[in-house]
């Protein structure tokens, strides 16, 4: 789903463009550090793979089908830096060569579909693989959760951007609920397919899976020269890539800042949508979506008088909730993995 022109106003389009450009610039340097002079051909081929993989339609149920977004998958297979580059190039090519996705929305599209999915996917993946036991089952489970989380994460950022500069007068609460709900479903499909794909690569060429470097059970070859460790140029690479802690801390800071500060200002905007919500409480407009409404719907905390503060608090609380939910999933997975440590890999699925 590529955002077209006209969906976001000029400031948000330009702002997202600057953010995307900065993100891509960081990844260019990061990828070059990892792949050296191999960057152009390797990333080019992986980008072509992602383009092709996005065209594989997966049957979901009852005649509907979904297709892969691929950000988390790419991050797990080739590392977060290269993944962002590959997906960004796919989006650029789709925009300029295939007229798919608005040119002014390229910044938004790259931010959502390349940067957010790859970075969130990678962070979740690392979080789980660090904590869980070594082995293929953990890697596959981590791929599932990472891809699952990456999709609603992108949807949430979309909602945040929409809040800032969307051109349609829809309740941000309904957008969040609708986007979140639908994308949780899409995320399930994405997670399922990503996990299966990673699993099938792990079965044949585990050395190619970036996220598995140093994570697969140590492989040794018995040779005439004695036992040799497998994995030529692949020492614990992920630690040489993005460290987990900076990503988490940075991500959390940005999220809290965005949620807090941005909602603070958004609440004061003349046509701020949540102002309406704050005035009316859970107004009639929202009734049709009641089932999806949580206590934070409309992003204002009841009982907090100051509207601005209320919006800001709601934002921060939302981030907190997301973190708690993510952590919970992590904790459960970790415990189950521990219990199932001795199980054979794919049978867990």
């Amino acid at each position: 789903m590529h955002v077209p022109d006209g969906f976001f106003d000029v400031p948000v389009s330009v702002g997202a463009g600057v953010f995307a450009a900065a993100g891509v610039a960081v990844c260019l340097r990061g990828a070059k550090r990892e792949l050296d002079d191999r960057t152009a051909p390797m990333a080019g081929l992986v980008a072509a793979f992602i383009f092709a993989a996005q065209m594989l339609n997966f049957p979901v149920a009852a005649g509907t089908s979904g297709h892969l977004l691929g950000g988390a998958l790419a991050a797990i297979l080739v590392g977060p830096y290269t993944a962002v580059l590959c997906v960004a190039v796919v989006l650029l090519v789709q925009g300029f060569f295939f007229a798919d996705g608005g040119l002014t929305a390229l910044g938004v599209n790259i931010t959502l579909m390349a940067i957010v999915t790859a970075v969130v996917g990678w962070a979740v993946f690392r979080l789980i693989t660090r904590g869980g036991p070594r082995g293929r089952a953990t890697l596959v489970a981590a791929s599932f959760v990472a891809a699952l989380v990456s999709v609603p994460a992108a949807a949430l950022v979309f909602t945040a951007l929409f809040w800032l500069g969307g051109t349609a007068p829809i309740e941000v609460g309904s957008v969040a609920a609708a986007m979140g709900g639908v994308h949780l479903l899409i995320g399930l499909g994405e997670g399922f397919v990503t996990a299966l794909t990673v699993s099938s690569v792990l079965a044949v060429r585990p050395d190619l899976v970036y996220g598995a470097r140093g994570m697969t059970r140590a492989l040794t070859l018995r040779t005439a020269d004695g036992d040799v460790q497998v994995g030529p140029a692949a020492p614990e690479a992920p630690s040489a890539g993005i460290g987990l802690r900076p990503v988490l801390v940075g991500g959390a800071l940005v999220a809290v800042l965005l949620a807090g500060v941005v909602s603070f200002y958004a609440s004061s905007a003349p046509d701020g949508l949540e102002k309406v919500a704050a005035d009316k409480g859970l107004s009639a407009q929202e009734k049709p979506h009641a089932a999806e409404d949580g206590p934070l719907a409309g992003y204002s905390v009841k009982g907090v008088e100051n509207q601005r503060m209320s919006g800001g608090l709601a934002g921060v609380a939302g981030v907190g909730l997301t973190v708690v939910a993510g952590g919970g999933v992590f904790y459960v997975i970790r415990r189950r993995r521990r219990a199932a440590d001795s199980m054979t890999p794919a049978s867990a699925q």
Binding site: P41, L221, T223, A224, D225, V228, V230, P232, A233
Partner: protein, 250 residues
């Protein structure tokens, strides 16, 4: 240029991959200027590993490789890669640029050629493989045989000392196979071709080497080697059904 030295000298070359698998156990061979030599051998004999050493993609674990007198070392790589023209088995691997012209120009441009001189090299190389008409076409619009010919042109444009071809006849229809043979015969360069295609070796190469288990197991005229059934059988080589080695042409 040391005009007196052979095109290629490999001595005592041994190599083990970083995972410990040893592929070469001491390879010795010499190819004189202007020779066309076939390198025969079963899968896993170490042929590809040897080829990777000829232009320094792999660095010798032990022993030396010299191209026209110049040893393959980190500081000579640039010149070595000009002198050794490697043609890969899959032309899609070799033709990575958007058009034939840019692809053929890639090598000489890396050597620093620009402008008219670059253009002359490109046209000349394409002319020699009969593909000048395709100069502005994208590689994926060409037939497989045409792509293989352009792949040969990409290395010819570097004016190499020795042309190294990996399975040049694979996947070619009979007509393309013959056309390529004619092109190779018309070239005035040293050729080393790695192949399973024994009749092709016999047609094109006076001399053959048989590689087996990481060493050169036999070295002689192609005719003599192919006529020796026990030698072929010992190294998992077989002539196609119905093919008989013609009587020695004298």
């Amino acid at each position: 240029m040391t005009s007196g030295s052979p095109s290629l000298t490999v001595s005592r070359l041994a190599y083990a991959y970083p995972d410990g698998t040893q592929a070469l156990y001491g390879v010795d061979l010499t190819i004189e200027r202007g020779e066309r030599v076939a390198l025969l051998g079963p899968n896993g004999a170490g042929k590809t590993t040897l080829v990777m050493h000829l232009n320094g993609i792999l660095a010798a674990g032990h022993g030396t490789v010299e191209v026209a007198g110049l040893p393959v070392r980190a500081d000579t790589l640039r010149e070595i890669r000009r002198r050794v023209g490697l043609v890969f088995q899959d032309p899609d691997d070799q033709l990575f640029m958007p058009t034939v012209r840019e692809d053929v120009a890639f090598g000489p441009a890396n050597l620093g050629l620009r402008g008219a001189e670059l253009d002359r090299r490109v046209r000349d190389a394409l002319e020699r493989v009969g593909m000048l008409d395709a100069i502005d076409r994208p590689p994926h619009h060409l037939s497989f045989g045409q792509r293989r010919r352009v792949a040969v042109a990409t290395v010819l444009a570097m004016e190499p000392e020795i042309l190294v071809l990996d399975e040049p006849s694979s996947n070619l229809d009979p007509a393309s196979r013959r056309e390529l043979a004619e092109i190779l015969k018309s070239l005035d360069v040293t050729v080393l071709m790695v192949t399973h295609d024994l009749p092709y070796a016999l047609e094109l190469c006076e001399r053959s080497l048989i590689m087996s288990e990481g060493v050169i197991a036999a070295d002689g005229t192609t005719h003599a080697l192919l006529a020796d059934e026990r030698l072929l059988a010992a190294h998992r080589l077989e002539l196609p059904y119905g093919f008989a080695v013609p009587a020695q042409p004298g």
